[in-house]
């Protein structure tokens, strides 16, 4: 079976995406994306700038939103609430990981 070579892109804060790209990649419509921004679930890099640009990491949150909306048949406000809470959980997990890394293991 031949294998295909694929060039990947990091989804980090350094990688910027337009609202149209974000919508296409996530499967959300731009209108739904605007609702997620209105409810504070995702934040553009600069909310005053037009058009909005988002970090690559936002794609992960918006894909999650899209999956949740489809899987649980949720309306946009419910999706935004869950995504905000999940982001908080991820933030806390990351803080916990950071603190754990700094805790010494058992001596000896």
């Amino acid at each position: 079976m031949p294998s295909e070579h694929a060039e990947p892109v990091w989804l980090t804060d350094d990688h910027a995406l337009s609202a149209a790209e974000l919508a296409e990649m996530s499967g959300m419509s731009e209108a739904e994306l605007r609702e997620l921004v209105d409810y504070g679930a995702v934040t553009p890099i600069d909310s005053e700038a037009t058009p909005w640009m988002f970090t690559g990491r936002c794609l992960l949150a918006v894909r999650t939103a899209c999956r949740l909306r489809i899987s649980f048949d949720l309306e946009p406000h419910g999706v935004a609430l869950i995504v905000s809470l999940l982001e908080r959980i991820h933030g806390l997990e990351s803080q916990l990981g950071s603190l754990r890394a700094q805790l010494p293991r058992h001596p000896g």
């Binding site: 079976m1 031949p2 294998s3 295909e4 070579h5 694929a6 060039e7 990947p8 892109v9 990091w10 989804l11 980090t12 350094d14 296409e24 990649m25 499967g27 690559g56 794609l59 992960l60 894909r63 999650t64 999956r67 949740l68 899987s71 649980f72 869950i82 999940l86 990981g97 950071s98 754990r100 890394a101 700094q102 010494p104 293991r105 001596p107 000896g108």
Partner: protein
């Protein structure tokens, strides 16, 4: 084609109402959905539950599924002779297809207007685990997936696909890579799906990871901590000498700049050596004698603040 017991997956009777099916699905989705579940096998379990619900929630698909008859899960079967004309696509190939593709094909062909709607290909999420060395140097991983793909006649087949993915240097735990267009094929001119690669790092026996920074426990004797020392310290790129300053306290972090994980931009995180002052498990008579001398000579009181607090509280 292998049979799947959709009712069994959802844990409902074959005569369950649509409402009961929905309730069972929601309960299981809540338990296994990869975005909310901590079950390591949650994603696979959720896929099975979602596939079952996708078919059973739709009366037309459910009726078509029921007419496939009852078989043991995993049993190879063929639908009754007239089933294909009634429900499916007469071109559908049953040999190398998945039951899910059969029902997905039913919804993609059914829409007002008679033509074929554009269906984007499915995105795939795959996890891979690499070592700290590979994260620093970059590495290549091979991913094998089975994806439904239409042939020239539009018939869906399960096709094994293998990707060699070059993971550029700069990875750290939990980072994601996107491979555009490497997911499932789009139907009727829809765009191809994407492949998302979730990277995790193998635990290292010495280093703990925080972003691109690394943490290492550095055991010190009490006299090294007091007098200072020059100590050999392991890093990902070999042994270096670290100057431990005099009067180093337990838990104090000593930074080795740029000795952490490499970042994509070219610089690197830091390595932090955490001082851990250890005493001998069983002091020898000589050590004991010296500590006794120290105890008599020293005026150091480590509980000065604690004693002050106790005094204030009383």
């Amino acid at each position: 084609m292998k049979y799947k017991d959709y009712y069994g997956v959802l844990g409902v009777d074959r005569d369950a109402t649509t409402e009961a099916i929905k309730k069972a699905y929601r309960k299981l989705a809540h338990k296994y959905h990869p975005d909310v579940s901590k079950d390591p096998d949650g994603e696979e379990k959720f896929k099975a539950v979602a596939e079952a619900y996708e078919t059973l929630k739709d009366p037309e698909k459910r009726s078509a599924y029921d007419q496939l008859g009852r078989h043991a899960p995993g049993e190879n079967f063929r639908p009754p002779p007239d089933w294909n004309q009634q429900h499916g696509d007469s071109q559908f190939s049953f040999d190398d297809a998945d039951l899910a593709d059969l029902f997905a094909g039913m919804s993609s062909g059914r829409h007002p207007g008679g033509g074929h709607i554009r269906m984007p290909g499915q995105d795939y999420d795959v996890s891979t685990r690499i070592s700290l060395q590979d994260a620093c140097n970059g590495s290549e991983v091979e991913l094998s997936l089975s994806m439904p793909e239409p042939d020239a006649q539009g018939r869906l087949h399960r096709v094994p696909r293998t990707f060699k993915v070059r993971i550029p240097k700069g990875a750290t735990d939990g980072q994601r890579l996107r491979l555009a267009g490497r997911g499932g094929k789009g139907l009727n001119g829809g765009r191809d799906g994407d492949l998302y690669l979730n990277i995790t790092l193998h635990p290292h026996p010495l280093f703990r990871v925080n972003g691109h920074d690394l943490y290492l426990d550095l055991p010190l004797t009490p006299w090294e901590a007091v007098l200072g020392a020059s100590i050999e310290v392991p890093t990902l790129s070999g042994i270096v000498r670290l100057k431990v300053p005099p009067n180093t306290q337990s838990g104090q972090q000593m930074r080795l700049s740029g000795r952490g994980l490499a970042k994509a931009q070219g610089n690197a995180g830091d390595l932090f050596a955490i001082a851990q002052i250890l005493i001998p498990a069983a002091a020898s008579d000589v050590e004991r004698g010296l500590f006794e001398q120290l105890a008599k000579a020293s005026t150091f009181n480590p509980r000065e603040r604690l004693q002050q607090e106790i005094k204030n509280a009383l």
